[in-house]
Amino acid sequence: MAKTTFREAARAAMREAMRADPRVFLMGEDVGRYGGAFAVSLGLLDEFGPERVRDTPLSESAFVGAGIGAAVGGMRPIVEVMTINFSLLALDQIVNTAATLRHMSGGQIGVPVVIRMASGGGRGLAAQHSHSFEGWYAHVPGLKVATPATVADAKGLLLAALDEPDPVIVCENATLYPMQGEDEDATPMRLGVAAVRRAGKDVSLVTYGGSLPKALKAADDLAAQGVDAEVLDLRSLRPLDVDAIVATVAKTHRAVIVDEMWRTGSFAAEVTAQIVERAFDELDAPVARVCSIEVPMPYAKHLEDAALPSPERIVAAVRSLL
């Protein structure tokens, strides 16, 4: 089977959707002639033309708002926001408009917009391009939040997002774009279904997005130490597959939650709360979290590395529970 990358898989999903449905179009900063800040949309302009692959001004509030309006008007827009940090400029459009219209119109008006954004650190882009706010979006009812972590999910979850009748935020951890994987025909996916990426019996590493490869690496390291870790990929934060979380904790009785958000109020905190509420009697140890250190993301590489979750920190967290 041919190899492909996370980046190409996301592009393939957009191409497939645009070929299948004339209502689907892409807009965002530099998505057209430049091919996207992370080259995800490279080549799409040539295939679909400037009507369906639209470069926008540098105004997140305006073009996200335009995408929401197009969705209300019957289109199926994909809006690319260069980084999740910049999406804060469109927060009003997303939270006050996209997430609320179905509710405020008594179900008459849906907003089937997909807003893709690059998230996470590790790329030397410092404190205004490197953060992880996906948990903020997952806080908002009316939104759905997908966090693909594999090549297959880059395509499959994006197609699932496009099938949703309501706004979906797709957070693509930018460190994953070059990740290679099999180019397989994704079986249709839906949001809200977690996946066990590695089965184990001693401890559950619950994670998503850019932290999945770190958790898998940590699981390998732990295996060498005789600790059999299970790795659960949440895949979407809202809806959240709580049953899968409970199931893995019921199996291993220990949980370490890994995410790249700042520890305080991180999505890991929500997962922890779900475990305590739903699986308290299964726990054989306190739940542990491995999150980002609470500083604006440093520019210097060694400091950035120190600020982000790492396989070493995950292993250390697991060992503290055994």
Binding site: H253, F280, L283, D284, A285, L322
Partner: protein, 395 residues
């Protein structure tokens, strides 16, 4: 008419279980307060258990049999006559507020299953699933060692402890072994919890023994007094003057008792010992005390003591003189505050008025709980004891 359970009483601080030997009452029988209702076998003896309550024996719940039952097991239902005064606090029992409505309780010792007071232990950390599993396995977490971080008891620890647990409770079949276990538990607790101090003195018994010989010359063989009864009476009277040594250490503090019930250590044939009480020993004339002592020894060796005798001792006297030792360093029977030991009476040179004379001497020792008293009080006690034994006619 309120009915309440008659519970298997705790007949001593070290008793954890017992079994029903015989019911002396049958359903429908009226029961007076203090009346013996049944015979319970403990590790140490067959004990006649009195009812603390008055009423009617409505129903027997446990027939005589081989089953060892935990303290607090309901044995019968007694229909009471109304409000029943709560029993006095038993020596081994926590002085919890009387439950309301006051239940019918078997004996003064019958605060059901009240654990012997101990220093508040640190909270044991147990993971939620370990706790749940231990409950399912009916495993007592107090005996599970935690291997998790900070000593937390984990699921694995519980499973391991459960696997190591013998299939059935190991209750040694013969009474000797069970008694050994019970003594081991009580003495280990004593040495673990009670900071002992020891003081001793040598007492000249010439006057006491001369008085005894004269007194016995007036008595028939069966009525003769034994020298040991003088020691018990003298001890009881000395405790009147030093009451800090008479009572129990419960709930983190010493509680004096106004009644002086002297527990008498009685060696049993085949090993082991019991220390049942001579009730109100300070108030009994010597002859009555002698008869009570003979009766107690006889019944202790026959294995039929009464509940109150097992639970009431407020102090213990041990006399190992007949075994030839000169000095006893006793271990306090918890939760009592003190133990008085006597060695053999030996004839030794003794200086009286500047002259060396041969005199019968005994070493008296006091082991006492340093949480309750200091050596100073202990010394005063021995001093009083020695003085009382110089005036045997007043005993």
């Amino acid at each position: 008419m309120p009915a309440a359970d008659f519970l298997l009483p705790k007949l001593g601080a070290d008793m954890t279980e017992g079994r029903v030997v015989e019911w002396l009452k049958k359903p429908g029988d009226p029961i007076a307060r203090g009346e013996v209702v049944l015979v319970i076998e403990t590790d140490k003896a067959n004990v006649e258990v009195e009812s603390w309550a008055a009423g009617t024996l409505e129903r027997i719940l446990v027939e005589p049999g081989d089953d060892w039952l935990p303290v607090g097991t309901p044995l019968a239902v007694i229909a009471g006559e109304g409000a029943i005064a709560p029993p006095p606090t038993a020596p081994g029992a926590a002085a919890a507020p009387a439950p309301k409505p006051a239940p019918v309780v078997a004996t003064p010792a019958a605060r059901p299953a009240a654990p012997a007071p101990r220093p508040a232990p640190e909270r044991v950390h147990v993971s939620p699933i370990a706790r749940k599993r231990a409950e399912a396995l009916q495993l007592d977490l107090a005996h599970v060692a935690g291997t998790g971080p900070d000593g937390r008891i984990t699921l694995e620890d519980v499973e391991r402890a459960a696997a190591a647990r013998p299939a059935a409770p190991t209750k040694p079949a013969d009474r000797q072994a069970r008694m050994r276990e019970a003594i081991a538990a009580a003495m280990a607790r004593s040495k673990r919890e009670i900071p002992h101090y020891y003081v001793g003195t040598t007492i000249d018994l010439s006057k006491a023994l001369a008085w005894l010989a004269a007194a016995n010359a007036q008595r028939s063989v069966t009525e003769r007094l034994l020298y040991g009864v003088l020691l018990i009476k003298a001890t009881a009277l000395a405790l009147r003057e030093v009451p800090e040594l008479n009572g129990f250490f419960v709930n983190g503090r010493a509680e004096r008792r106004s009644n002086i019930h002297v527990g008498v250590a009685i060696s049993l044939r085949g090993g082991g010992l019991v220390a049942p009480a001579l009730l109100d020993a300070d108030r009994q004339p010597l002859d009555a005390l002698m008869r009570a002592l003979q009766d107690l020894v006889q019944r202790a060796r026959a294995g039929s003591l009464r509940g109150a005798e097992m639970t009431e001792p407020t102090v213990t006297v041990t006399n190992l003189g007949e075994r030839g030792v000169e000095t006893v360093y006793g271990v306090i029977y918890p939760p009592q505050l003190a133990l008085v030991g006597f060695g053999a009476v030996v004839e030794r040179p003794w200086v009286v008025d500047g002259q060396v004379l041969a005199r019968p001497l005994v070493n008296a020792t006091l082991s006492a709980d340093h949480r309750a008293t200091d050596g100073h009080r202990g010394a005063i006690f021995l001093d009083v004891l020695a003085r009382l034994l110089q005036e045997p006619e007043k005993l």
